[in-house]
């Protein structure tokens, strides 16, 4: 019991229920008198609604109600809010056109919600949805962000001229331009960071229930941050007091960002449940998920790096058009700005950086944070530029990185962040050794002998996690602080329930958070349970995204534990008739310094709840503490990935031969869980670079709307990963932790594309490196 729990590979507490089919995901929750919703969605990318006739649907078997935009407007349901205000280059606020929960006279993307049908069974709801007769006047559509902001493009919102949400910039343009003018060498790339569909395996779902008896709502929803969902829904959309709404995010089958947001369906089923006095459940089928989940990435970028004659970086200049889709999703505005441009220093001492971002509305599903959220896009810019620069200047790609690594900490970047600590040589050296980079040339010869092309690529990424110091976030436009809450409830016999505002949707908090608590208190991990995902149980929480759970949520728990231990000392001092200052706590035991007088943690807990002998005049009974934690800085996980590919020039097929990842996540609580997070992140990053691509045709139809058209990696698309870690503890949280959830997805695309372009001998090629794109790149190279 006294073996350290922090750093231990402990099998997960939550696994038993998942392995035996006892998980409770939102769609598994069926309430008494359950009714089912089906949404009528726009088949057009851009159209005026002439009429919506619902009479036939209303009369269909089993139908309880049909609601359209007119109904929600009459009920004064507000639009979906955006949580982050970006101020443009002229000091003006971004354009925020309304995002109605059901379309108001106009539709702006295929899949937009036009009406909802609620019926006794799902089949009846779907049948009746087919009977809703909506007449449209089609309008020309635009799906590409660059085309959307060009002259003559169809105008999507009256409130956003030229389809421009904002033009935003960071850095001193004049100084950067001057540095470029003097540079010995400039490397320039133009590329698209391809649009992705998150595809958590559990489709979104929501089950809203209104109780007349209690005059209150309960919403079960597949969501990463139930308190944020509740706050946005009550205060900004429905005008309800929060104590009348309980939001439960039970077991959630993956999120990757896509379940952060308040979606229209969540609001509509909650509202409809009161209209019909029935619980109303909606579960997306995968086709609906493709159409209506927030997508990720979709940047078109021109990036340049200026260097002196030795390959020392002098300046970086980046211009990006970010496609935000038809409406602003909850955090859409901060992803291509605050979470992107601030990461452009990467691991390097580039002294000045200028980045300009134009956010464009288009007739596509809204785009928001997807695993990494801005940081994969930034890493792709930096690491593709650096690798390309090395090749152009005939410097070894590892060497050019070492020449420019940051080695003095804390380090103030030119793009607003203050890195507290890091050791980039350590991860790169370790990765190169594990990857046997020195043996690459002989492996390349063997491949050549077989008629295959072999390439090697690096990516040395950095990310800012643990969002956020609230004051910093607020100064950058966040409309809410981003602290976290934790509560420790010690039960009378010394077992513990922990309530956290973080949410686990695969990350294993029930285990890793229990390790932290059991380790700090010195009690068996079996005596600790973690509760998350229910606004009726947990005081508050900002939820899980941006790899913030352990760094922010874990620290809130540590703070609450400090209070528990401090109060326990007072109680123990009283019980042992000692001065409070003489009592020490260590591994589950309160002891009077220098004596053998001691009380076990459980004895003190018992005394706190059943206080016969208790200092009532000085101390309240009970042992329950909560804490809020607002971090003083971001955390900065970083690492080095080395990827080696073999390409068949006859077919264009890329095979990943070896993948090495060495990450520095600071202190690690459970290495088994951390490795799993890295593996999953890598697979998503590999998916972006190799197989995944979200495509709308020119008319705005989604042509990649299923697993048969949009290829998330399968088991034989990804290699066996070699992963390891180096540990430079974070300097500003008590656990020394940084966060690990997104690293793989951030670093992998650049490493893989660097390897593929190396193999092909081309400067650049588009993601994904599908056989067709590879084959075309080879053909173009031969033609050149």
């Amino acid at each position: 019991m006294n073996a350290p729990l922090i750093g231990a590979r402990i099998a997960r507490k939550e696994d038993y229920r998942f392995l035996t089919g006892a998980g409770q995901y939102t769609d598994d929750v069926t309430l008494p008198n359950q009714a089912y919703a089906a949404f009528v969605r726009s088949p057009h990318a851009h159209a005026n609604i002439k009429s919506a006739s619902v009479e036939k649907a209303k009369k269909a078997p089993g139908v309880l109600g049909v609601f359209t935009g007119a109904d929600v407007a009459a009920a004064k349901l507000g639009g979906l809010p955006c949580g982050w205000l970006i101020t443009d280059v002229n000091g003006q606020p971004m354009k925020e056109p309304p995002y109605p929960v059901l379309a108001q006279g106009k539709v702006r993307f295929v899949g937009e919600r036009v009406a909802v049908v609620v019926a006794e069974t799902l089949a009846q709801a779907r049948d009746a949805a087919e009977m809703v007769d909506v007449k449209y006047d089609e309008l020309p559509a635009v799906v590409d962000g660059r085309k959307a902001i060009a002259k003559g493009a169809p105008q999507i919102h009256e409130a956003a001229p030229n389809n421009t949400c904002y033009v935003w910039a960071l850095g001193d343009k004049a100084a950067v331009d001057a540095a470029f003018a003097k540079a010995a060498h400039v490397t320039k790339l133009e590329f698209v960071n391809n649009r992705l569909v998150p595809n958590a395996m559990e489709p979104r779902a929501a089950n809203g229930y209104y109780s007349r008896a209690e005059d209150s709502y309960t919403l079960y929803v597949a969501n990463q941050n139930p308190h944020v969902e509740r706050l946005l829904m009550t205060a900004f959309v429905m005008g309800l007091p929060e104590h009348k709404v309980r939001v439960v995010a039970p077991d959630v089958g993956g999120g990757f960002g896509s379940k952060i947001y308040l979606y229209a369906e969540d609001v509509v089923v909650t509202w409809a449940s009161k209209q019909l006095n029935r619980p109303v459940k909606w579960t997306a089928d995968r086709s609906e998920a493709y159409l209506s989940d927030a997508h990720g990435r979709d940047h078109a970028t021109v990036a340049e790096l200026a260097m002196d004659k030795d390959g020392k970086f002098l300046a970086m200049r980046v211009s990006t058009v970010a496609n935000v889709g038809a409406y602003l999703s909850t955090f859409a505005s901060c992803v291509p700005t605050i979470l992107y441009a601030t990461l452009l220093a990467g691991q390097y001492t580039t002294p000045i950086i200028y980045c300009q971002v134009t956010a464009a509305f288009s007739n596509t599903s809204p785009v928001d944070a997807y695993r990494g959220a801005g940081r994969p896009e930034a890493t792709y810019v930096v690491e593709r530029l650096v690798e390309t620069a090395a090749r152009e200047m005939k410097i070894d790609p590892a060497e050019i990185r070492r020449k420019n690594f940051i080695r003095q900490f804390p380090y103030q970047t030119p793009v607003a962040l203050l890195y507290d600590t890091g050791n980039y040589d350590a991860t790169l050296d370790a990765a190169m050794k594990m990857a046997d980079v020195s043996g690459f040339s002989s492996r390349k010869k063997s491949s050549e002998a077989k008629g295959k092309l072999r390439g090697l690529g690096y990516a040395c990424y950095i990310e800012a996690c643990g969002i956020a110091p609230s004051a910093v976030a607020g100064s950058l436009g966040a409309r809410a602080g981003l602290f976290e809450a934790g509560e420790i409830r010690v039960h009378p016999t010394g077992s513990v329930t922990v309530f956290t505002g973080s949410h686990s949707h695969g990350q294993g908090h029930e285990t890793s958070f229990a390790q932290v608590v059991a380790d700090r208190l010195g009690i068996p991990i079996e005596n600790v349970d973690i509760v998350h995902g229910d606004t009726s149980k947990i005081l508050f929480g900002m939820g899980t995204y941006g790899s913030r759970s352990i760094a922010v949520g874990g620290t809130a728990i540590m703070k609450a534990l400090d209070k528990i231990i401090a109060k326990g000392k007072k109680i123990a001092a009283h019980l042992m008739e000692a001065a409070e200052g003489d009592v020490e706590y260590n591994k589950g035991v309160y002891q009077v310094k220098g004596t053998d007088k001691k009380k076990m943690f459980g004895e003190v807990a018992f005394a706190a709840y059943v206080p016969h002998n208790y200092p009532h005049e000085k101390l309240e009974p009970g042992l329950n503490e909560n804490a809020f934690y607002d971090p003083s800085n971001f955390t900065f996980p970083a690492g080095s990935y080395v990827c080696e590919v073999e390409v068949d020039p006859e077919t264009g097929k890329v095979r990943i031969d070896r993948w090495t990842a060495v990450d520095d996540f600071g202190k690690i609580i459970n290495p088994m869980i951390v490795e799993g997070q890295v593996h999953g992140g890598l697979a998503q990053g590999i998916g972006q670079a190799l197989t995944e691509n979200c495509v709308y045709d020119a008319s705005g139809q989604l042509t990649t709307g299923s697993f048969m058209d949009y290829s998330i990696p399968r088991a034989d698309d990804v290699p066996n990963f070699q992963v390891d870690t180096r540990e430079t503890p974070c300097t500003h949280n008590p656990l020394g932790v940084k966060g690990c959830g997104e690293a793989g997805a951030i670093g992998a695309p650049a490493a893989l594309m660097n390897a593929i372009t190396d193999a092909l001998g081309v400067k650049d090629m588009p993601m994904p490196a599908s056989p067709q794109n590879v084959w075309n790149a080879l053909k173009n190279r031969k033609a050149a």
């Binding site: 099998a11 997960r12 939550e14 696994d15 038993y16 229920r17 998942f18 392995l19 035996t20 089919g21 006892a22 998980g23 409770q24 995901y25 769609d27 598994d28 069926t30 089949a123 595809n199 958590a200 395996m201 559990e202 489709p203 077991d251 959630v252 089958g253 993956g254 990757f256 579960t283 089928d285 995968r286 086709s287 949707h505 695969g506 990350q507 294993g508 088994m672 869980i673 490795e675 799993g676 593996h679 999953g680 992140g681 890598l682 697979a683 998503q684 299923s706 697993f707 048969m708 998330i712 990696p713 399968r714 088991a715 034989d716 990804v718 066996n720 990963f721 793989g744």
Partner: protein
């Protein structure tokens, strides 16, 4: 309107009147309320709905309930021993961290058990190919592959 479907699920007789168009997975989840079998797509690609039918792993989203008339079905709820002890394949997934969010897991386990019956000592490549019909978005498959290799060996050893 409707049709009576009778079959055996996890060793127990189950019978109900359902619409003809009812899929087997809907029958399992909605009629029998066995919600461990999941639905992750609508194109028979993801495998989250995999169950055992007459000893073979099948995707329960791609047949009608009435096509399973008289069949012997095992779902994820019927895999562990009656006393709650995990099946060797389930235990291997836990030991090797072969699951994260747990949503694809029931289908993975059901497919893996069927696969392991004919592959007592599978290679990594064989396992990866056998997972062609099961999608996971969390694990990058790395630990699922390890779990299945270990689970297959444990199943073979336990025979």
């Amino acid at each position: 309107m409707g049709i009576k479907v009778s079959l055996k699920v996890n060793g127990k007789a189950a019978s109900a009147e359902v619409e003809e168009r009812t899929l087997l997975v809907t029958f399992i989840r909605e009629t029998l309320r066995l919600t461990g079998t999941h639905v992750g797509c609508d194109t028979a690609q993801c495998g989250a709905c995999t169950v055992s039918m007459n000893g073979r792993a099948i995707k329960s989203c791609s047949i009608l309930a009435m096509q399973a008339e008289g069949a012997d079905i095992t779902t994820i709820e019927g895999v562990a021993k009656a006393d709650g002890t995990l099946h060797p394949m389930q235990a291997a997934f836990k030991e090797h961290h072969g699951l994260q969010c747990g949503f694809c897991t029931p289908g993975m386990v059901m497919n893996a058990i069927d696969f392991a019956k004919s592959h007592p000592n599978p290679s990594e490549q064989e396992i990866r190919e056998a997972l062609e019909g099961n999608l996971c978005r969390c694990t990058g498959y790395h630990n699922i592959v390890k779990s299945i290799a270990a689970g297959a060996k444990a199943m073979a050893a336990g025979k």
